[in-house]
Amino acid sequence: MRNLPNARTLIFGLLVHSFVCGNAFAASEADFKQAYAAADAAERQAGTLRNQWLVTEAALTDAKKAAEKGDFDRAVAAAKEAEALAKASIFQAESEKEVWKNLEIR
């Protein structure tokens, strides 16, 4: 299957990403709010492009839950992950505006 490696690349990217994003410093509630607002804005932009990802939504939920428990390190990490994912989905939607034509059967 020609296209499965793409999926694997993306999933692998995600794993690597969550690994490198571990935070060494202790985050505050303000850090979380800032990170969450950035992630939320990006996800809303993905929404106007009709291209949100399930994992982004899951990361946003994680961030919120962690913050509610006072675990701001985790909350910030999850929010940053959500932001990166949302931005990837925006990039995908923007580039697909033209690239989709390459797949068309003519």
């Binding site: 020609r2 989709w100 797949l103």
Partner: protein, 291 residues
């Protein structure tokens, strides 16, 4: 792309390179032709599958993965002896015949009283300037008669469309694109949606159903895009029940880890318009059963 801090930038750059790597192979096979006559495109679409699967009879594409896999076909034929959608079909027949509170019927909303008309849907309605799918037409009929709309993904909608498909079995899809730029735009939008990669897996509908039909994705044998709606609605063993076109599109989106659109969203209706149009000439085979 603007970034707040260094860490964010690193991450995004990584993503950029991963995405570019994913997109590049596709980009190399760009065709420059800008010939967009839908009839011509539909022919090319059909020819692609006929050439890819020279042993499959054209009409058999309406049977989805069963046209491509002998072992699965035998299991399907065994199940067709007493198909699992039969209860839904009967319930659909009853629902269809049941009068609304005002005494009118679904039959009053359709040509030929709704019998043998499934192959004419979706239609482009010039008045409202939108694609009317069979599911939407059923709910419009309800609302015009003072009834509440029913769920597009629920059992009753599946049952009603199952019955209407059953009375249309064997009739070839006959989807019209009226000479109206808005109709043409709806078709083009459906086509765009079909080929657009989305979700975390970076799959388009075409990734599975044009490039890899007949292959196994995990356990499922992927159906060819040609004729993929002819068998709708379907009883899926995976669902343990019936599903409408709306339900199928939504699960497709989730499977590539994308957030699905709402049922009967414009993009979904246009997608159905495109997929049905390119299947013109292939017989309605619904209701169907699928793994």
């Amino acid at each position: 792309m603007a970034h707040v801090d260094g860490a964010g930038k690193r991450v995004s750059m990584r993503w950029l390179s991963i995405l570019l790597a994913a997109l590049l192979p596709a980009a190399t096979c760009a065709a420059a032709a800008d010939d967009t006559d839908p009839a011509k495109e539909a022919r090319a679409f059909r020819d692609f599958f006929v050439k890819k699967f020279p042993n499959v009879k054209l009409d058999d594409f309406a049977n989805g993965p069963y046209s491509l896999n002998e072992d699965m076909r035998r299991q399907w034929e065994e199940k067709e002896q007493f198909p699992p959608y039969e209860f839904s079909l009967e319930s659909g027949k009853e629902l269809f015949a049941k009068p609304f509170a005002n005494g009118k019927h679904y039959a009053d909303c359709f040509t030929n009283s709704g019998i043998g008309v499934r192959q004419n849907y979706p239609q482009f309605d010039v008045k409202s300037s939108k694609v009317i799918t069979l599911e939407l037409a059923l709910n419009q009929c309800r609302e015009a008669n003072g009834e509440n709309a029913i769920s597009y993904t629920g059992e009753d909608m599946a049952a009603l469309t199952a019955y209407m498909a059953f009375t249309s079995r064997g009739k070839p899809f006959d989807i019209k694109i009226p000479d109206d730029p808005r109709a043409r735009a709806a078709y083009e939008n459906g086509k765009r949606y079909f080929y657009t990669r989305r979700g975390q897996l970076n799959f388009s509908c075409a990734t599975c159903h044009v490039q890899n039909p007949g292959e196994r994705l995990r356990a499922e044998v992927l159906a060819p895009a040609l004729g993929i709606l002819n068998a709708m609605p379907i009883y899926r063993s995976e669902w343990g029940g019936m599903g409408t076109v709306s339900r199928r599109f939504i699960t497709c989106n989730s499977q590539v880890r994308g957030v699905p659109l709402e049922p009967q969203a414009e993009d979904y209706r246009d997608l159905e318009y495109f997929l049905s149009y390119v299947a013109n000439g292939l017989p309605i085979s619904g209701p169907g059963s699928r793994p």
